[in-house]
């Protein structure tokens, strides 16, 4: 399917505006729940840009993995660690922000210079367009087979590691030596949650 260049330009402008404003919102908004939802918007607009770049398979993967998995995971994490806390003031916070903004602007200038002064080998070969999915499949099962298999091992390791890191219950005795475990070392006594506090108030 061919779209006119004007339509393409309009799509690009809309998507890039959404992308830039959304990413600024992710970084700057004080409420982190808004940030998480804006992050979903940023992922979606990046997927739209992939569609403009003739990459339908990666766009679908982006929507599935980032919007469907990573963003939901981040939202769950926000719900699990959602505690109102007043952050202690840090001396020189404004100076730190200004300095880091200067560093980031310098990096941005460097990237701009690289982008505009390099002699890109344009025009390159014609894009394959809708055959991209077939090509990716051929790559994954021929010359990128080893990274593909390694990625599956990596995902398995990440899954097991995440489960081990995030599980709450600990064994009462050491698995190897059989000695009883000092629970205080593993998990600090925490302030009771709001529901437990109410239950404690009612009991006496």
């Amino acid at each position: 399917m061919t779209i006119a260049s004007t339509t393409e330009l309009i799509c690009f402008l809309v998507l890039s505006t959404t992308l830039v404003l959304g990413s600024l919102g992710v970084v700057l908004l004080p409420n982190i729940v808004y940030s998480a939802f804006l992050l979903g918007g940023v992922f979606l607009s990046v997927a739209g840009l992939y569609l403009l770049l003739n990459a339908s398979f990666v766009a679908a993967a982006q929507v599935l993995v980032y919007v469907g998995a990573v963003n939901v995971l981040i939202l769950f994490a926000i719900m699990l660690v959602n505690k109102k806390e007043t952050l202690a003031a840090i001396p020189g916070l404004a100076l730190r922000r200004l300095l880091s903004a200067a560093v980031c602007l310098g990096l941005f200038g460097l990237l701009l210079r690289v982008a505009f002064t390099t002699n890109w080998a344009l025009p390159g070969p014609l894009p394959v367009g809708e055959e991209a999915t077939v090509r990716i499949g051929e790559h994954l099962f021929s010359d990128y087979l080893l990274p593909f298999e390694l990625a599956s091992v990596l995902l398995l390791m990440a899954m097991i590691g995440a489960i081990v890191l995030a599980r709450r219950d600990v064994f009462s005795s050491d698995v190897i030596t059989g000695e009883p475990v000092d629970q205080g070392l593993i998990e600090k006594a925490r302030t009771p949650l709001l529901l437990e506090q109410r239950a404690l108030e009612k009991t006496p």
């Binding site: 399917m1 061919t2 260049s5 004007t6 393409e8 690009f12 890039s16 992308l19 830039v20 990413s23 600024l24 992710v26 970084v27 940030s35 998480a36 940023v42 990046v46 840009l49 992939y50 569609l51 403009l52 003739n54 990459a55 339908s56 398979f57 990666v58 993967a61 982006q62 990573v70 981040i74 994490a77 926000i78 699990l80 660690v81 952050l87 840090i90 730190r96 922000r97 990096l107 941005f108 990237l111 982008a115 080998a121 025009p123 390159g124 014609l126 894009p127 394959v128 367009g129 809708e130 991209a132 090509r135 990716i136 790559h139 990596l154 899954m159 995440a162 489960i163 890191l165 995030a166």
Partner: protein
């Protein structure tokens, strides 16, 4: 209707390659700023995701404009997406464990290794 938008003659089309590169640079620098300045640990992870997306956008732009036949950039982007998903899962698990032990997600208070 097919899903892909294949644009013949894109190499001299309306959008230059540099537009995508500038967009990715903006996204990356926003991510770096957020990474340095966020107090909330979840927001740090979000900033890392922003940076990974900027890199992916660069890879896809190069893949389309300079490597249109072999599209190795798209394969690389798929691997980056895979590693990013694994990183998000492990990072958020570490964050939960930290929160359980330190009762906070403030980055300034994770200073056990400071000397």
């Amino acid at each position: 209707m097919t899903f892909a938008l294949s644009i013949p003659g894109l190499a001299n089309g309306s959008i230059p390659l540099q537009a995508y590169l500038v967009l990715a640079a903006v996204l990356f620098c926003t991510g770096v700023w957020g990474l340095i300045n966020s107090r909330n640990a979840v927001r740090v992870l979000m900033s890392i995701e922003l940076m990974l997306n900027a890199v992916n956008l660069n890879l896809m732009a190069f893949s389309n404009y300079l490597d249109g036949q072999l599209i190795r950039g798209q394969v690389f982007a798929i691997f980056v997406i895979t590693v990013a998903a694994a990183e998000a899962a492990v990072g958020l698990a570490i964050l939960l464990s930290l929160y359980r032990n330190r009762e906070t997600v403030d980055m300034e208070r994770f200073n056990l290794l400071r000397w």
